[in-house]
Each structure stands twice: as structure tokens, then as C-alpha cells.
């Protein structure tokens, strides 16, 4: 009895025609096993990502409780339109990515390409808006460690005249901005990695891959992309929406 017959017995729910699928790696018994393994591996990787951001969220929570007024004032300097726009952009990109996975599953190459390009454009759009915001913060001397100065918080702003902080509180806005740059920076790093991976996948799709039932790479990239979206879903209220009503 050779290993192939055994494998066919094991994977009794598997599709027999997939047994010799070109993308089946030698150490797996069947395509479904390979796909399940890949998905499970991806999810495990995402749990490590949760914990990676977990350390930052934990620090954020502590300092927000300690220096709430400083966090309010720091948050007020961010452009709420940019935050909302970027949230929208990411959510729509998640949708287009989900559609791309759907296209891969239904094996429609044109649709797959289209949705992936849409995702790519939205991802780049997100990064552009983010870059614009960072530039603004640089101009306002809000980048800790590089050009931070608490002066702008000593007087209050046009939109929020109440944000007139005493010096000791104004200095604590540095912690807000440190965490802001750490969290959005880490998030943007993930976006950049995502956009690069997406480009590679797109080139491979153009070469005819991933529309023959081998959807795991597209599916797993989708998981990654949605995860990055989820991180932003939390960053948005935590960083942009602190006491906007004041």
C-alpha cells in the first residue's frame, strides 16, 4: 500500500482530484489539510500580533488614566476629518479585500485583480493621509524625541480654547504623542508590509496563480489585512476621539 492510497483514505472528505494538485506540498496528505494548516498558522500569527499591540495598548491605558487632561489636549490637535476619512478608507479596503477573497474562491481572475487593485489603492490612500497628518504634527513640534515642544499647549487653540494647560500637564502631552506615534507607526508599518505583500500577490495573480482553487495565500493575506483594519478601528477612538465635546 503506498502513501497515496492511504492519504486518500484519510482525507475522506477531500476532493480526490485535488490529490495531485500542483500546489500540494509533499508533506501534506491532502489539499484541505494544507489549507486548514495555513489558515490555522495565519490565525496563530495574528494572535502574536494581538499581543504585540497589546503591550502598546497596555501602556496607553496606564498613561491615559494618569494624565487624562494631557491626553485630551493631545487628541484635540489631531484632525478628526483625517481620522474619520482613514477609518472609512480602511473599512472599505477591508470590504474590497473580502471581495477579492470571494473572487479567488469563485475563481474569477478579472474580479480578483480588480478587487486587489482597489484594495491596493485604498491602502496607499490611507498611508498618504497618515503621512499628511504626521507632517502636520512635525510642523507643530509634536514629535517626541525629535522636535517636541509643549509650548503650543500653553495657550489653547481656536477650536478648543479650553486647552490651556499649565506647564506640568502640557509636558505630559509628550507621552500622548509618544504613544500616538508608536501605535500609528506600528500600524503604518503593518500597512506598508501589507501593501508590499499585496503587490507581490497581484503580480502572481497576473501570472495566473490563485484562481485554480489554491486560495490559501489570498485568504490569509485577507486575514492579515482585516487584522490591520481592526487595530485601526481601536486606534481611531482611542487616539482621535478623546473628549471631543469639550
Amino acid at each position: 500500500m503506498d502513501s497515496h492510497t492511504l492519504a486518500a483514505q484519510t482525507a475522506d472528505t477531500g476532493h480526490v482530484e485535488d490529490e495531485h494538485a500542483p500546489f500540494l506540498r509533499h508533506h501534506f496528505e491532502s489539499v484541505p489539510q494544507q489549507r486548514e494548516a495555513a489558515t490555522f498558522g495565519m490565525w496563530l500569527f495574528l494572535t502574536t500580533e494581538i499581543m504585540f499591540f497589546g503591550g502598546l495598548f497596555c501602556s496607553y491605558l496606564i498613561f491615559r488614566n494618569w494624565y487624562y487632561p494631557a491626553f485630551v489636549a493631545g487628541s484635540h490637535t489631531l484632525h478628526i476629518w483625517a481620522g474619520t476619512l482613514n477609518t472609512t478608507v480602511l473599512i472599505v479596503s477591508s470590504f474590497t479585500m473580502a471581495m477579492a477573497v470571494h473572487a479567488a474562491e469563485t475563481r474569477v481572475r478579472r474580479a480578483l485583480m480588480g478587487w486587489m487593485i482597489a484594495t491596493l489603492i485604498l491602502g496607499c490612500g490611507f498611508l498618504c493621509v497618515k503621512a499628511y497628518e504626521w507632517h502636520d504634527e512635525w510642523v507643530d513640534h509634536h514629535v517626541p524625541g525629535l522636535n517636541f515642544g509643549p509650548e503650543s499647549f500653553l495657550h489653547g487653540t481656536k477650536a478648543y480654547p479650553d486647552d490651556k494647560l499649565p506647564l506640568d500637564v502640557a509636558e505630559k502631552t509628550q507621552l500622548y504623542f509618544s504613544l500616538y506615534f508608536l501605535m500609528t507607526g506600528m500600524h503604518a508599518l503593518h500597512m506598508i508590509i501589507g501593501v508590499s505583500l499585496l503587490t507581490i500577490l497581484l503580480i502572481q495573480v497576473r501570472g495566473g496563480k490563485y484562481v485554480n482553487g489554491h486560495v490559501a495565500p489570498i485568504e490569509n493575506f485577507g486575514l492579515y489585512w482585516h487584522f490591520v483594519d481592526i487595530v485601526w478601528i481601536f486606534l481611531f477612538p482611542l487616539l482621535y476621539l478623546i473628549s471631543r465635546h469639550q
Partner: protein, 108 residues
């Protein structure tokens, strides 16, 4: 073949393809929730501003995880993995907070 029955965990989980309509509905809900959370942040709810913002964020996350990430249609194993990730995240936050919150209680 009898022995194979003991193989408790199926090597294959029936793959479910979600229809585009569902995706579209979820996307629309997410956008509505985004608008809501931005709008609500301008309303003074006191302490509840944070609660509402986080509740909306959690709802959005749940929708993304369940539908975009197909957890609703996934195997128990994947569900458990996600749960384990969030559980450890909560452990990190909660156990660290036991220190930071109770520091204010006593003289230490």
C-alpha cells in the same frame, strides 16, 4: 478503516463561501458605526463617552472578525485560537491594571 473513526478531529472543515451581499451589508454597517462614533464623541456623556466609543469599536471588530474574517463559518479550533488571543490580551491588561489601579488604595 474502523480505526480511522478514532481520528476525532476532521482534517477538513467544510469551506463556506460568503456571498457578496453579506460583505456589502457588513461594510455599510461598519461605515454607519464609524459615523456614529465620531458623532457621539461630540456629545457630552461624561464617563460614558469612553464606554460608548469602546463598545462601538468592539462591535465593529466583532463584525469584521465574524464575517470578513469568516470566523462565523470556521472550525472550532480557529474560534478557540481567536478566543485564546483575546484572552491573553485581556490577561495582560487586567493583571497589569491590578497593580496600577490598586496603587492608589494604600500607602505603597
Amino acid at each position: 478503516m474502523a480505526e480511522l473513526k478514532h481520528h476525532d478531529e476532521p482534517t477538513h472543515h467544510e469551506h463556506h463561501i460568503v456571498s457578496p451581499g453579506v460583505y456589502l451589508a457588513i461594510c455599510a454597517t461598519l461605515l454607519v458605526l464609524t459615523a456614529t462614533t465620531t458623532a457621539v464623541s461630540y456629545v457630552d456623556l461624561g464617563e460614558y463617552n469612553t464606554v460608548v466609543a469602546l463598545a462601538i469599536a468592539c462591535t465593529k471588530m466583532t463584525l469584521v472578525v465574524l464575517f470578513f474574517m469568516h470566523i462565523k463559518y470556521s472550525s472550532k479550533l480557529t474560534k478557540l485560537t481567536v478566543a485564546a488571543g483575546f484572552f491573553t490580551f485581556i490577561v495582560l491588561i487586567m493583571m497589569t491594571m491590578t497593580d496600577y489601579i490598586s496603587r492608589a488604595w494604600g500607602r505603597w
